[in-house]
């Protein structure tokens, strides 16, 4: 992606050329680029699976694929999007941006960085290859509940090991990011001067370190239950399948914040830039992110209100869940307050950031509804849940990834992207994503279950609308690819600051930045001047 950066004459000293260079690179920008390209590829693979799902659901009845394959599509789509697209995209942003934002030459552990990336293609080859195995890919849902998941065919050990690898990769990435921010900050870059993207990533990294090992444990228990005669989740042997749900969601809820916290950081970088005003309530943003992270560890059972918990448990998890709305509300309030009475312009990154604020909030509201126990009794396992998590993940996480891509692409490549195409991509995506997911609220309220290949005829109309939205949204993403490729290959030369209102150390470097970011730390005055 960053050919321009690669051939930048004055700072170009990587020892190998060609493929060997990418295999052995320890440079944060090279690795960031590989993460981002990998995430983009996975986004299209996961997207193709989503197209299969929406195609089958276009009409009632079984038309195109058989039910087991359909189920493996929903399972793989989720795994690929969560672990293959969103998480690597965030690590890619972190690699590219954090050293530049804190005035460091590179990441603290460059060799580990290389490893954590290269584990990923390996993990996903394992996972995707299961689609071609006898019995097909895993089809029990991304949540891998036993005993169903134990009926997976030859794919089962591949599923488990690929999750181990993905976990190892993201834990290594997280350790690296914490070490970089704690030890390589330029003199004068105090913690409360860090850009919010760096802050949210630090918190994300701690979430990763605390939650991914628990997932690793849970899937290891599944593995030994299936092959080595343990009975963690088998009732016959004294175990309990419900316990898997507790362990899984102890990981799972922090995981959803791993997916969204860096998005908060991106919105907090973009909105002040185009509003030409400092971010409203910087400190409260930091505290809000930290309290969200803390709360995310004590709400897991809101995913299992219907398994039959004692009343006290239902109440505790309901109150804790609804409490998360408070720090989340603080953040939304601060973004809106930043835009309030500002002189805004609406370039593509800002458009995506505003859409993020509005649409993520809709997802937050449906989350609140689901967080109320008696209401969840009705909505659990319906399309309402599907609508909820797609609002927070697609129009939340993915939209902010797109906003961030448009925002920093000129910095990364040294070229401006095509603003016209970018805006077209934005409007097509934003309209179609709502056509795609908003009707799913209605379907859920009317009782359509999730994860089914066929449905009762009364759900036909909204499913057709949703599928049409899906095809348009899927198609629009080709535009995203076109914009990126065009921008990498050339275009109007970008200035160093790129955006008139941009603040932060990365904008003091040339576009594209030199191979090693800050070989000598920036002067304290630059840090002050770069901050707002």
């Amino acid at each position: 992606m960053s050919d321009a950066a690669i051939h930048d004459e004055h700072h170009d000293h990587h020892p190998y050329g060609g493929m060997t260079r990418w295999l052995t690179t320890t440079n944060h920008k090279d690795i960031g680029t590989m993460y981002l390209v990998f995430a983009l590829i996975m986004f299209f693979i996961g997207g193709a699976m989503a197209m299969v799902i929406r195609l089958e659901l276009f009409q009632p009845g079984l038309q195109f694929v058989d039910p087991v394959f359909f189920n493996s599509m929903t399972t793989m789509h989720a795994l690929v999007m969560i672990f293959g697209a969103v998480m690597p995209a965030w690590t890619g942003f972190a690699n590219w941006l954090i050293p530049m934002m804190i005035g460091a030459p590179d990441m603290a552990l460059p060799r580990l960085n290389n490893w954590s990336f290269w584990i990923l293609p390996f993990a996903f080859t394992l996972l995707l290859s299961t689609l071609f195995m006898p019995g097909g890919g895993p089809a029990g849902g991304w949540t891998m509940y036993p005993p169903l998941v134990l009926q997976t065919g030859a794919a089962f050990p591949f599923l488990i090991f690929s999750i181990h690898f993905m976990g190892a990769s993201s834990i290594a990435g997280a350790i690296n990011i914490i070490a970089t921010v704690f030890n390589l900050r330029a003199p004068g870059m105090t913690l409360m001067k860090l850009p919010l993207f760096v802050w949210t990533w630090i918190i994300t990294a701690f979430l990763l370190i605390a939650s991914m090992p628990v997932l690793a444990g849970a899937v290891t228990m599944l593995l030994t239950d299936k092959f080595f005669g343990t009975a963690f989740f088998s009732a016959a042997g004294g175990g309990d399948p419900v316990m898997f749900q507790h362990i899984f969601w102890f990981f799972g809820h922090p995981e959803v914040y791993i997916l969204i916290l860096p998005a908060f950081g991106i919105a907090s970088a973009i909105i002040p830039t185009f509003a030409r005003k400092p971010l409203f309530g910087y400190a409260s943003m930091v505290y809000a992110a930290a309290s969200i992270a803390f709360l995310s560890f004590i709400v897991w059972a809101h995913h299992m209100f219907t398994v039959g918990m004692p009343l006290a448990g239902e109440l505790f998890f309901m109150y804790a869940t609804v409490l998360i709305a408070v720090p989340t509300g603080v953040k939304v309030f601060n973004w809106v307050a930043t835009m309030w009475q500002s002189s805004m312009t609406f370039e593509t990154p800002m458009l995506f950031a505003i859409a993020f604020v509005v649409l993520f909030t809709i997802g937050g509201f449906s989350g609140l509804m689901l967080g109320v126990t008696p209401i969840d009794f009705q909505y659990q396992d319906t399309y309402f849940v599907v609508a909820h998590f797609h609002y927070v993940l697609v129009t939340g996480a993915i939209f902010s990834i797109m906003a961030g891509t448009y925002f920093w692409l000129p910095k990364w490549t040294g070229h401006m992207y095509d603003e016209g195409l970018g805006k077209l991509h934005f409007w097509l995506s934003t309209i179609s994503v709502n056509v795609l997911f908003f009707p799913q609220h209605f379907l859920g309220l009317a009782g359509m279950p999730r994860r089914i290949p066929d449905y009762a005829v009364q759900f036909a109309d909204w499913n057709m609308v949703s599928s049409i939205g899906g095809f348009v949204f899927g198609g629009s993403q080709i535009l995203f690819l076109v914009v990126i490729v065009k921008c990498v290959r050339g275009g109007q030369k970008a200035t160093d600051r790129v955006w008139e209102g941009a603040h932060g150390l990365e904008w003091t470097l040339p576009s594209p930045p030199p191979y090693h970011s800050f070989s000598t730390p920036p002067a304290p005055a630059t840090i002050e001047g770069g901050m707002r």
């Binding site: 006898p134 350790i175 628990v214 690793a216 005669g229 042997g237 507790h246 039959g308 918990m309 004692p310």
Partner: protein, 190 residues
């Protein structure tokens, strides 16, 4: 600069945290089981000795209905039913009921029955002195067996509860489960 040293220290600490959290995942297993036993969560019922049961005070003023439900886990060729489906008992009085199970296949099969009591939160007031679920049951091909359960309801059971449902599910014994778990489509052993 000392960044190298402090980075190494930090990385060691963080890696330790990773290990601790991996262990924590496993620690959740005993934690969960203890919590379930203490609270009766997930309907696990207790076991009492005959002596303790006999010593329990009786309450002739209350009658509690106990219902029996039976299930056989999917893919297990057994037939399983309660011979009494509901019975009214006084708290503190030990009562016996019978269940019948039949192996309809042409192989010997070992099964394990797993009990669960609803409502869950009063499970700890329900105890058994004898149950076929205390041990595994092996049935020869075509064999039918009558199996007793002796239970007692603790008189301290909250006043608002007047119906209890005890359900049993027969599973293949754990050692046989892995071998016999059905797999999707035709996968040669997995």
């Amino acid at each position: 600069m000392d960044t190298g040293v402090s980075t190494r220290k930090l990385v060691t600490k963080l890696s330790l945290l990773v290990l601790v959290m991996f262990g924590f995942g496993y620690a959740l297993v005993p934690l969960y089981n203890t919590l379930c036993t203490v609270t009766g969560l997930n309907g696990k019922t207790g076991r009492l000795s005959e002596a303790t049961a006999a010593a329990m005070p009786k309450d002739d003023t209350r009658l509690i209905t106990v219902e029996f439900v039976t299930n056989v886990n999917s893919g297990m060729p057994w037939r399983f039913k309660p011979l009494v489906t509901r019975i009214a008992v006084h708290p503190g009085v030990e009562t016996a009921v019978d269940f019948e199970v039949m192996n309809t296949s042409s192989d010997a099969i070992t099964g394990q029955a797993v009990p669960s009591l609803a409502p869950n939160e009063v499970a700890r007031y329900f105890s058994k002195t004898e149950c076929f679920c205390f041990t595994q049951q092996t049935l020869a091909a075509g064999e039918t067996r009558r199996m007793p359960v002796r239970f007692i309801v603790n008189p301290k059971i909250p006043a608002h509860v007047d119906v209890l449902t005890l359900s049993y599910t027969f599973f293949r014994a754990a050692a046989q489960v892995t071998a016999a778990t059905p797999t999707v489509k035709s996968v040669p052993n997995s």
